[in-house]
Amino acid sequence: MAELTYRDAVARGIAQEMSRDPDVVFLGEDVAKAGGVFKATVGLYEQFGPLRVRDTPISEQAILGAAMGAAMTGLKPIAEIMFSDFIAVCFDYIANEFPKSRYMTNGQVKCPLVVRTGNGAGSRFGAQHSQSVENWCMMIPGLKVVAPSNPRDVIGLLAAAVRDPDPVIFFEHKSLYPTKGEVPDGEIVDTLGTAKIVRPGKDATILALALMVPRAIEAADRLKTEHGIDCEVVDVRSLVPLDMQTILGSVGRTHRLFTVEENPRLCGWGAEIVSIVADEAFYDLDGPPVRITTPHIPLPSADLLEDAVLPTVDRISETVRRSLES
């Protein structure tokens, strides 16, 4: 067991998979010699050499297209899109090419690749370098979508993504890169499509993803200490496949549901989950499900403004308290 940063966990996860399988290759902007703009891929170029760890031009379409061509002919590429906002300039591959190739060709073409990308706010980068865009990908049939919240999950879910036969979009949260967590020694391989109860409780279920997970846990701790409200926090981890059994099981025990979403409100992942719960567990609920989200706005840059719009520990705990007490 060792303490590792989320950032170092990325490099360790990639290294674990590249060591295991020579068909795993890695490409992206500034990822090789420079070790990545977030320093999340330091040492890989030195360890695996220039044929497997490759710097690309600023050509997001070429990066994802090349990853796809390599994947469909036998390699297992990991491609980095530096900021998840840039998915917009290569969205054709995410929306039209990766996820539809298997279906349109009646199963002939396979596309086993991973797109890693820096997602989320907190760095005061403004509206084009801070978004949470996991919902852009969640809506597309054929993709898998993962967003880890801690170093151990980074390694385990990245390994699962690399070994998965489908295209996986892997959202790393930029504000989590410096955070630390305990990571066991040796190989770590997790399972896609499994949510995790990270804090058991009986009074309400709080679903969260990525950066919102530590905030939800802190809010739950505060609710317990200050108000005696015992919340269960579920780290959703994987939006596709979606572990509804864990979520429905939790709601069945607590009878209240809250989602904590960094994405802007419209069509956020929580909306889909709330609709499923309303469909399948309506009579388990003792009150309306409540979504705690960023408002439907582009993100502002100034620190005070950015902090004001993301779900905070204060907002989560206050929303849950008011809802349960009303």
Partner: protein, 340 residues
Amino acid sequence: MLDKANNPKPGLNDDIGEDKRLELYRLQVLLRQAEQRAYDLFLQNLVKGTSHLSLGQEAIAAGFAAAMKPGDLSFCTYRGHAHTLARGVPVEEVLGELMGRDNGLMRGKGGSMHLTSVEHGVMGSYAIIGAHLPIACGAAWRAQYKGHGDVSVCFFGDGTTNIGAFHEALNFAAVWKLPVIFVCENNHYMEYTPIGDVTAVPHPAADRASAYGLERIIVDGNDADEVYRTAMAAYAKARSGEGPSLIECITYRHSGHSRADPAKYRPEGELEKWKERDPIKIYRERLLEFGIDPDVMKGIDDGIMREVDEATETCKAAPPPPYDIIHTDVYADGGFAWRN
């Protein structure tokens, strides 16, 4: 470009030879008749949706296919029937796909614009302009990394040269020295608009080559011999590790952009002028000039007509795909489940 001075006495036993020339002839006639049949089936409402024909452009698909080795990969556009057939995919499977039948190449799940046959090296037909150029780069990267020796070829129209992915892929392939060949079929119209009206240079592909350190190559895309020789040179270059080529083939499509397009934007007489340079007419005259017995060509023509007729009847009799395939192959587990 082919240096004609190096080939002063073209003939049956020159660098191409009789067998290869008959193959080039057969391929062109096959593509012509199969696509003409697809058009006729449209008129009978047996082919639905859309379709983009290569009538008049057959020499390019034939010339490249004849230059390929087994294992070489083709990446096509939505105008991909000809390139798919040229790799040996049965006519029946192509027409079946166009007609939405269960015997179709992808059982009706892809349609005209997405013809794919991995076993024949046809790695897909891509309907988003430019998307497949970077994808071909990736396949070439795999060949380079694994030392497989195969070459990827990527066909596209003149309109593609104005989209970003074209430029990203050209630079990427040149920097990584990838074994990939980019083939622009310049048929003079992006869709309905003359390419010259919307492009800064006269030759939409070749005039961009120097920006990526590549040779400026323009060939007569209606001359199968010239296409074949150029293709052979590009394959040899790619296989020897010398990197990508960009080849602009000058041609003309006899039909509109798609089946919805009567091509009224063409100046009067333009189509007739190009029909004088019909690639099959040119090739037939050349073979006669070389002394090929007209009966040999008639034998090829008749054989292809039989093949296309039989394929048509088989497809007409084929059942539609079953509804249960709607939900298959979304994910690798064979199904479409996104939750538990």
